[in-house]
Symmetry: C2
Subunit: 420 residues, 2 copies
């Protein structure tokens, strides 16, 4: 994309009312725009990042046999009454329709997916079943803050699993845990993210969170210094013992919950009477699990973790573009060579943001650092004197001179989508 | 995809409360599921169709320089008060947050996109600008009926254009009209869809609808028998004269509005004081247009238009799969050959639904006709006796015997994504 065509502009200063690092940097870079507290628009660069994260999540959910659907945000009151959550879910938006019918705005979708699955689950042959969606959720938060880390409207992936017995649930729970760590690794957060025992039933058996360490997080977790399992402060006893390795050595850190997994067992199949006929002809309640993950919150967490004083540093798989190409100087020859290189890179399958604007080198460098695309290529009079481009990784200091036609070598550096 | 893995099942009978053709067929085929009046879940087959339509729309919007963003559904009351539509928009869902703040659920996004654009439009150099989103809209309909043709929650593409003068708006309005007809053609609705003059300002100047003829539609349009321009019943004078060709010969038909385009001019830039600095240094109001299109409603319209007594007949570009492969008979050899062909087709880039279930030929044929994938391939003892597969188009009677390894010939028939 030609940057001259991109309608957003970067900002030198963050809006005064933003405190969190992710909101400041993502707003300054033109990724998001705050409409109201906890409510954001995703601008072209931000939407690209969000979609990339969502696609990584989608790929890994399909890899564990998830079937994608899309459920509505408007949820009839009766569904939520059936589980008692119309009154008890503490951040539910409630709304009245023209027909006096009342709705909840979906904050999670057990109340919808269970009666839906009921239409298709008859016997043990229909199990196990894994259904997921990537959909917009709403939470009536009293305080929305921390940029994308706590919002009133957000993209969420929710997968629901249906099983004939608990053993099958247990083994899928392990499988999803692995899939979640694959996603987290692809999003560049593996070193900062800890599997964390949390409330939701008896200790460490029924609920785990995936907590990413950041000062911007609202949670406190205690990380076992022996085995890396963490415990959420909420359920930590005075002198905790690690449920996995038995160690008593813990370290307290601030973190943000980017995903969670629950063994629901029969909690929701019971109120909806979701049963299946087993091999022996007996009717039994379906055993369930649910697995949430927030792509927009992950985007916020990445910004919290991956930045320096100059701006964002996107991990490769979630970056809005692979390469930021800068043409420095207004000489026609420079623009011509940069444009030619742009076309060549595009034809090789790279996603390139090409800064073709009339602006100073200082402004272009500063903006490239702020936006944080993994690789920067500069075409200038200096580089052209050597028939070269200048290559630099966002997260390193070194620059490399590569011949303009040496795309083979470039591919080795970038080891990105297209290789010769 | 192996059909044995697909969690949805087809239904012989439509739910009794469904009257419209699209709701009946899409529900029976397992494409959608009604949660409540005017509120549907999209199941795996249905989500595939919806996403294909959305991607066609996206491609054509990018082709006319649209930049994609994503705006929130939660819209602050103040934005809607500014244009007077908090009180006057007749199908607006209103909701109160925990902080006593009030929101509208976005039914359209002029109130959000104008103040957003204001942050980036400074001078004539920033114009023209085209911003679009594909996002979930909410309408507080008193009566929701007609399946996907009138719902309370739906996928919508809305593009907003910003111009320095009316001439520029006029020329983009023409460009979008052409882009819309490209989309409509790719969705298989070009022969049934008419550009229709509608209310929204002085006659034929300020608003046009794209109306698709179907008995299931709620609108009445009058089509000029000379030039094909239509007039919406709402604005038709007693004895209409075609504004394009002057003819008085009209034919009345029922239709559904799948898209509309408006010249907003300064209607929304004025309340938000959206101005730009022109070449001569003068501040002027930005001239606007808006262009809506409903992917989910298009899906419903396709089902209304493209079906027969046996089921759906998806146009190629929006079909959930390219090929429906049926293995008939439970002989291991048949299954082995079908599986091998499935793998080969997948590797050639075809999207294939492979009916690998143990079921009768009659059931498999009936379901294939109901689901409506454009091409059906049958592997049976009869076909294998001739080392062949049997090919049939959903919308034709002829069957063709093709050798199992003759994928070149198959590609010629299908002239679909992958050719040799």
């Amino acid at each position: 994309m030609h940057q001259s065509q991109l309608f957003t502009k970067t900002q030198k200063e963050a809006p005064k009312d933003e405190i969190s690092v992710n909101a400041k940097l993502l707003t300054r870079g033109g990724f998001i725009d705050k409409l109201s507290a906890g409510i954001f628009s995703f601008l072209p660069l931000g939407l690209k990042v969000l979609r990339k994260i969502e696609n990584i999540v989608r790929e890994e959910m399909v890899a564990v046999d998830g079937q994608e659907i899309l459920m509505p945000a408007l949820n009839p009151k009766e569904n939520w009454q059936k589980t008692g959550r119309w009154e008890n879910f503490d951040a539910l938006f409630k709304i009245k329709g023209a027909d006096e019918k009342e709705y909840a705005l979906g904050a999670t979708h057990e109340e919808i997916v269970v009666p839906l699955a009921q239409k298709f689950i008859l016997s043990y042959k229909d199990l196990p079943l894994y259904i997921f969606q990537i959909q917009t959720k709403f939470r009536n938060e009293i305080r929305a803050k921390s940029g994308l880390l706590r919002t009133r409207e957000f993209s969420m992936k929710d997968l629901y699993s249906f099983h004939a017995d608990e053993k099958d649930l247990d083994s899928y729970y392990e499988k999803i845990t692995d899939a979640y760590f694959k996603i987290i690794e692809r999003c560049g957060l593996d070193e900062q993210t800890y599997l964390t025992a949390a409330s939701g039933g008896s200790f460490s058996k029924y609920s785990h969170e995936f907590q990413t360490i950041t000062e911007g997080g609202e949670d406190k977790i205690h990380i076992c210094q022996q085995c890396d399992l963490a415990i959420n402060e909420e359920i930590k006893p005075e002198n905790p013992t690690c449920p996995d390795c038995g160690s008593n050595d813990f370290k307290e850190v601030k973190a943000v919950e980017i995903a969670n997994i629950f063994k629901l067992k029969t909690k929701y199949s019971e109120p909806f009477d979701l049963k299946f006929r087993d091999k022996d002809g007996q009717e039994k309640l379906v055993i369930m699990g649910c697995y949430g993950m927030g792509p927009a919150r992950i985007m916020g967490a990445i910004a919290e973790v991956w930045h320096d004083e100059k701006g964002l540093i996107w991990p490769k798989e979630v970056a809005p573009f692979d390469i930021h190409l800068l043409a420095l100087g207004e000489d026609e020859k420079i623009k011509k060579e940069a444009e030619a290189l742009y076309e060549k890179l595009i034809s090789r399958g790279y996603a390139v943001l090409y800064d073709d604007r009339d602006a100073t080198a200082g402004k272009k460098f500063a903006e490239a650092d702020l936006i944080g695309i993994p690789w920067r290529i500069v075409i200038s009079q200096k580089s052209l004197d050597k028939s070269s481009m200048e290559l630099k990784a966002r997260n390193a200091q070194e620059t490399y001179l590569l011949k303009l036609n040496d795309l083979k070598n470039l591919a080795d550096f970038i080891s990105s989508p297209a290789k010769d």
